[in-house]
């Protein structure tokens, strides 16, 4: 199938999506006062309304979406349903992409807010390197599973925001998942033949990178870091202020 036809097929569906989105936001914009836009003690008129520019933007977006739809239909993009092939991926690539998206979402939405940053980042790095370096589907699926399990546990057991930064068993579960994934990785690779350098270095990178990064950010760049109460970082934080800092600050 020609590239242009595939692209127009994608455009057909994108245009429909954009039409719905711009219509929805035009409706939302209609809720903002337009002709009597008095607010914050300022007397308003149509040209001062907070809805003026959004109205223009979403109207233009709607118009361009219809133009895109017309182009897509003219170029034969509306003939078939959208399939993974039409998106430009093979089945294997689509699965890889799904696994990457799942791992990234689990990391950002479930692990980072609730679990020690060093532990969850070590798990992420191991999963992404081993799962995607060789392209082995077993490694990829196992990696995804071992990220999703502690992430879902953390998300379900400690869902409320009030529980996010408190130390919990979800930290232990993540460290356990990291250890298990590392062990599985070595066992699996050893069974397949000589263990590659990348695999041998993976646990080192997985531990050293987030550890150094979080220490540099918190104590070097003096920036905020996620989950200061986490299992590992709370110990580092404690020893920095109680054990190390007095060595050079108290005389």
């Amino acid at each position: 199938m020609a590239d242009t036809t595939i692209m127009r097929r994608r455009d057909f569906w994108t245009a429909l999506f954009l039409i719905v989105v711009s219509a929805f936001f035009l409706y939302r914009t209609s809720l903002i006062p337009f002709f009597r836009a008095d607010a914050a003690g300022v007397q308003g008129a149509w040209f001062n309304s907070a809805a003026l520019v959004p109205l223009g933007i979403f109207s233009a977006l709607l118009l361009l979406s219809f133009v895109l739809l017309a182009i897509a239909i003219r170029d034969g993009g509306a003939t078939q349903l959208l399939r993974s092939k039409a998106l430009g991926f093979t089945g294997g690539e689509a699965e890889r992409l799904l696994c990457v998206a799942l791992i990234l979402c689990a990391y950002i939405f479930l692990l980072v807010p609730r679990v020690d940053f060093i532990a969850c980042s070590a798990l992420l790095i191991t999963a992404l390197i081993w799962g995607f370096h060789t392209g082995n589907p077993v490694a990829r699926r196992l990696s995804t599973l071992l990220v999703l399990l502690p992430a879902l546990y953390a998300g379900i057991a400690h869902f409320p925001r009030a529980e996010w930064t408190k130390p919990h068993d979800d930290d232990i579960a993540t460290v356990a998942a990291f250890a298990l994934l590392t062990a599985v990785m070595f066992a699996y690779e050893r069974r397949r033949g000589p263990v590659s350098r990348v695999v041998r270095l993976t646990p080192v990178i997985a531990i050293i990178v987030p550890l150094l990064l979080v220490i540099a950010m918190a104590f070097g760049f003096r920036q905020n870091v996620p989950n200061r109460q986490g299992l590992l970082f709370s110990k580092i934080d404690y020893h920095y202020y109680v054990t190390l800092k007095p060595l050079w600050s108290s005389r």
Partner: protein, 506 residues
Amino acid sequence: MEFVSTQIAGFWLAFTDLATDPVTYVYLVASVFLGIVFGALPGLTATLAVTILTGFFSNKFPLEQSLIALIGAYVGAIYGGSYPSILLNIPGTAASAATAMDGYPLTRNGRGGEALGITTTASFIGTLFGTVCLLIFVWVLLLISRNIASPEKALLALFGILLSGTLMSRDLVIKGWISGLIGLAMAMVGLDPILSEDRYTFGWPYLLSGFQIVPVLMGAFAIPQIMDGLRATVMAAQMPRVGRIVPRFAEVLRRLPSITRSGAIGTGVGALPGVGEDVAGWVSYGVGKASSREGGKFGKGSVDGLISAEAANNAAIGGALIPLLVLGIPGSPPAAALLGALKINNVIPGPTIDPALILRVVAILVMASITMFIMGLFTARVFIMILRIPQTVFLPVVMVLTTIGSFSVGGGINDLFLMICVGLFAYAMNVMKYPIAPLVIGAILGGLFDETFRRSLLISDGDPSVFFSRPGAAILLTLNVLLILSQLPVVQRLFTRLTGKKENAA
């Protein structure tokens, strides 16, 4: 004459102040090195390098020091993109895509070292050329910008978004415009700048202050790269042999006219709002092909072709900073990240900007280009070794860097949620061939456009003639209209017919 001597004296003061501070070198060497590494590793970009460092430095460091790190990384990354382009035929950044056209054939002919050496020199001279232009034109434009009021600012912001959408589209131009409109729409979220009206927050207090720039940039530029890099298995490539890297002085002198021409084109294109280094590289390559004596050899391993692309993309850095400093409108996506850093530090670029800051930026650019030149010539083999690191190893590390960088800017976990949502959306846009740069430029300039557009109407009591009764506004409105008209098929057909008739008549 007095203006020139004052400028030189001011620059010299800023330069000596920087050069005599040992901390400068710590920041410069580290940031230029990091920048080159980011540029050299395919999948990582100059924008990402600057954005990640913005997250690291944000508002806890003095702006003067942050700027050294950010500009150093910017200069290094634009140059670093040439390594994989020349050695592997894989552009490290979009800005160095044109470099691969002649760089890789040179490597295949066993002239990889020569190509790297001349690229380093051209990039160095190109950056200096752009910097000199920045030093001169920023003041000229600052004088003009004092007459720029809300209508001109609104139309200029719109022009930046439209131009970026037009030039960055790889498929239909309409997709670039849609991308720009989505960016503009993103900027509408939160309290509006004039009446503090709540817009599209859906009851989430975090959104009241609108979308933060740094998470949006990280999401738009990092997440799609990570997902795309991990989607396909790419093994580390075999490095070709490179010989002598330091170029011969006579060769550099011989190529100086080409470097200067490309530098001028790069600066000019870089100064266009929202366009940037990648377009600069291609435009200069095209002009070089038409004007160079080696034009016929372009694409087959021409040193002039290599220079055309590389001198231009580095000169575009100075050009991109001109509209940023004078008008607060970034000339390129990495400059947009710099704008984010300036805003975090409560510096609002524009006619009221501190002149000392401009001179410091110029001095930092000069020092960064010198550092890049020295590193490029004498430590190139280190960067060649770094090229051997497979994507699947460094991309997970980049994900962790991005996460902590985005978190530390101020919004905490909510910024991370925003980053991943923007990232997934940007990836979908990438797949559908929508350019990301107009989205980012739109998101950054949307607030300015909204405020100045409505303020113009407020001042004129709702009279839209304010957008064409002032000379500056009339010119900008004409440019906007012409830009839109030029993309309409009817107008294009008419233009082709007219030019066709002229050619036939000739």
